[in-house]
């Protein structure tokens, strides 16, 4: 089959590799119809995630049709068109019993801090991902969701990660009616977090980024205020001026470890690897939120440590909440939102690229060329 193949930092290609096989009685093999490149794939692409091995196939946002099922699969049948949450989870461990599907303890031998994730290095379990013609889907009875007939495939593929992650970012902010919410990052997750903040009753939503085209997009998509941090001397002062000098009720970090905005953070975190990436968005979030406010983190960071003002978080009495999204928990309501027309996730898709051109697709997304917001890869024979 044709699959994306990682060759090293900033180098990927499409090439043939053996088809995946059933390896566990509850596996399914899925023929991929849509896969996306996620912002967090760029951390792998840039060589920032430890134990990212040459030859691996990335891709944790995908839909497809079931081609084959293992002997114990009861809830899926060949031909079902499914969306597959990025979490690989068992449904029965201590954490899954608490609906913490992103923290499953039975699907990732290589690390205990995170559950299994498709195509996300061996630090997340060593699974090949969905940027391919076929993919092995473990725990097929609990992970995949059959796509409702009235759901567009482009909306469905965004339900596998980006939209639920943005929604959970807002949910973890514990937004009260009328709250001011600041979202750092106008990438796909930040865009969905901003829209979700309104659904949860925010009174004001402000999105911060430095890419003008993304800020323009989110302003229209999520009807929010925007701030270009390049136009701002000091982010904390700017947000305080916008909020009667108190600070925002809720700040959301939807950027993670490659944030722009601080030379020192970029040098120490991204270039010199002295910390687990650049944490300037989180730094701003902590310093821009009001005392007693909530900081919600869905931006991805490396497994070591980061320089953040934790003393300020203590002194301000902040609540910090963070996690990988528990996608399956959110799906019923998020599907309802799409069906009710409250949100059209597919509007964020700017690029549709054949899998054969995966090298160009990664470069366009990584370098933010051609006003790219979200890229969908189309496998051969998948149709458009």
């Amino acid at each position: 089959m044709l699959a994306m193949n990682y060759r090293g930092p900033y180098r990927v290609r499409a090439e043939q590799k053996p088809d995946p096989a059933i390896e566990h009685p509850n596996d399914a093999i899925v023929r991929v119809s849509r896969s996306c490149i996620c912002g967090s794939d760029l951390h792998l692409y840039h060589g920032l995630v430890p134990d990212t091995r040459v030859g691996m196939t990335f891709g944790h946002e995908f839909t497809g049709t079931v081609e084959e099922v293992g002997s114990s699969v009861q809830n899926l049948k060949v031909g079902d068109h499914v969306l597959v949450p990025f979490n690989i989870f068992c449904g029965s461990c201590f954490f899954c019993k608490r609906e913490l599907y992103g923290n499953c303890h039975n699907t990732n031998p290589e690390a205990t801090a995170v559950g299994g994730i498709y195509g996300y290095s061996h630090t997340a379990g060593g699974y090949d991902g969905g940027q391919a013609e076929f993919v092995r889907v473990p725990m097929a009875d609990v992970g995949p969701t059959v796509i409702p007939l009235d759901l567009d495939l482009d909306d469905a593929v965004l339900l596998t990660d980006a939209y639920p992650t943005g929604y959970q970012a807002a949910e973890m902010g514990d937004i009260k009616e009328g709250d001011t919410v600041v979202v750092f990052g106008a990438g796909p997750v930040g865009i969905f977090a901003a829209k979700s903040a309104w659904l949860l009753g925010a009174g004001r939503v402000i999105v911060v980024d430095h890419l003008e085209y993304r800020l323009e997009f989110v302003k229209n998509f999520a009807q929010c205020e925007i701030v270009n941090f390049k136009d701002v001397d000091d982010m904390a002062i700017h947000i305080k001026k916008m909020t009667d000098w108190l600070g925002a009720d809720v700040c959301i970090d939807a950027v993670g470890c490659e944030a722009d905005g601080s030379l020192a953070q970029k040098l120490t975190g991204v270039v010199m690897k002295l910390q687990a990436g650049s944490a300037i968005a989180l730094h701003w979030a902590i310093n821009s939120v009001r005392k007693g406010g909530n900081v919600s983190i869905v931006g991805v960071y490396g497994p070591t440590f980061n320089a953040i003002p934790i003393g300020n978080a203590l002194n301000k009495g902040l609540t910090l909440r963070m996690n990988q999204a528990s996608v399956k928990r959110h799906l019923p309501r998020l599907i309802e939102h799409i069906q009710a027309g409250r949100i059209e996730p597919k509007k964020i898709i700017t690029h549709r690229v054949p899998l054969e051109e995966v090298s160009d697709a990664y470069h366009i997304f990584s370098s933010k060329l051609d006003n790219c917001i979200k890229t969908v890869l189309i496998s051969p024979g998948a149709g458009h």
């Binding site: 060759r7 090293g8 180098r11 290609r13 566990h24 509850n26 430890p50 134990d51 990212t52 091995r53 040459v54 030859g55 691996m56 114990s72 068992c90 449904g91 029965s92 019993k97 608490r98 609906e99 913490l100 039975n106 699907t107 990732n108 031998p109 290589e110 690390a111 205990t112 801090a113 299994g116 061996h122 379990g125 060593g126 699974y127 090949d128 473990p138 009875d141 949910e171 009616e177 009328g178 309104w198 659904l199 949860l200 009753g201 009174g203 009807q223 690897k273 490396g302 497994p303 399956k328 928990r329 019923p332 309501r333 409250r342 090298s359 470069h363 366009i364 990584s366 370098s367 060329l369």
Partner: protein, 163 residues
Amino acid sequence: MKTEKDYSHIHGWGADLDPKNRPAYPKERMPARLSGVHWDQPEQQEQKVEILHSNERPDITPIFGTSTPPSGLSGTIREAAFKYSENDIRHWLLLLLADRINVWEGLAGDLNKGHIPHILDEMGWKAEWKYNRPGAIRKLAIGSALLGTAICLMKRKRRRELQ
């Protein structure tokens, strides 16, 4: 929904304000609202390739990925890394070192199979040329200047050694 402020221009505003509208509320509910689980503990997947496991757990997990098993020098370094816990910075630094060595192993593997990798293509240079031509030209110029300088310095060193 009636509110003090008018949010009617924001489609869907407050749809999830009342937790009763949210089937996923509250977070971390027990028992989980998940159907399809027909096991207490998943069956153990058969291990056919080397799987490294964190020493913060007793053994491998019932389910695991089998992509790209450890091999070569990078594999040996990865094995060494897993002697340290996730709590130990040496674990992560060794894995990053292994990743970098693995890149060279990948290049050697390509050449060994008679495949010369198109590194510029793999880096998406076609897209760079199409969408950011001035940037591509600038990068090529800087790259050429650095390469030229390196060659000159090497030649000068060689001349000095011969003298």
